[in-house]
């Protein structure tokens, strides 16, 4: 139990499975229950997909995924060097009207918002992007 877990990987869609495995094993090692592990895997997969597709626009680069406990909360930080991309600035999705469209969008961000309790974005002093996802009350008290 315990300790910060960090993965740095190239941004490529075929790396998503590696990212999901990392989140799953890190969250489990911190004692997170399986339902919350699934939520975290989903949220990080969607966030990293957004970084690859909307941030780097499929150009080469890397993303750092770090996972740590803060009390009973689990904190995931995603850091990348893509041009500024703030997913929190997008308007909330209207599911029904989106599903009626021929090319719906916004599903990923909607899933992230449902899977975690808090999502925040900032531009670090060194540049790039930092997205923080917080899931409350999932890490057992020590």
């Amino acid at each position: 139990m315990g300790g910060k877990h960090t993965l740095v990987t190239d941004v490529a869609l075929d790396k998503l499975a590696e990212v999901r495995r990392f989140v799953e094993s890190s969250a489990r090692s911190l004692g997170v229950n399986e339902t919350a592990v699934s939520d975290l895997v989903l949220a990080v997969d969607e966030a990293v997909t957004n970084i690859i597709v909307h941030g780097y626009k499929h150009q080469p680069g890397s993303v750092e995924v770090s996972i740590d406990a803060d009390g009973t909360a689990l904190i995931v930080r995603l850091r990348d060097k893509a041009p500024g991309f703030d997913p929190c600035s997008y308007p909330k999705l209207n599911l029904r009207s989106s599903l009626e469209k021929d090319t719906p969008g916004g599903f990923g961000l909607h899933l992230i918002n449902k899977a975690v309790d808090d999502i925040s974005y900032r531009i670090p002093h060194a540049g790039g992007n930092e997205l923080t996802l917080v899931k409350q009350n999932v890490v057992p008290s020590r």
Partner: protein, 119 residues
């Protein structure tokens, strides 16, 4: 946990049954769409997607379902989704379907004969 998606196709009582194995994510979404497109161009009228061995499905997988339903055509989304049924999704996939409102459009079954009989 593999990063590739395997798709095995069988014809059962006039319905195309696609058995998926692996993740349906942004990396494999196109593989599913292309297989469905190939089958529909070949004359498939209805499709069951067996998700029993799907290890992961997020928004990319649901976008693929939306696109496949659109390939069948129809006056509205309900008519388009009527050509696609899902079989044996995990609890995680069911939660994603519900969170994105797909449970209002697409029927989910635990039994293949029931899924085929529902067309």
């Amino acid at each position: 946990m593999s990063s590739t998606l395997e798709i095995a196709v069988a014809e059962e009582k006039g319905v195309s049954v696609l058995r998926l194995k692996g993740p349906v994510d942004a990396n494999t979404q196109k593989d599913l769409e292309e297989k469905a497109d190939e089958l529909i161009r070949g004359g498939a009228k209805n499709m069951v997607l067996d998700l029993k061995e799907v290890s992961y499905m997020g928004s990319a997988g649901l976008r693929a379902l939306h696109i496949i339903a659109g390939m069948f055509g129809g006056d509205d989304q309900s008519a388009r989704f009527a050509h696609v049924k899902l079989l044996n999704p995990s609890d995680e996939v069911r939660r994603v379907l519900k969170t994105l409102g797909f449970d209002n459009y697409i029927d989910v079954f635990d039994d293949l004969d029931e899924a085929i009989g529902a067309f």
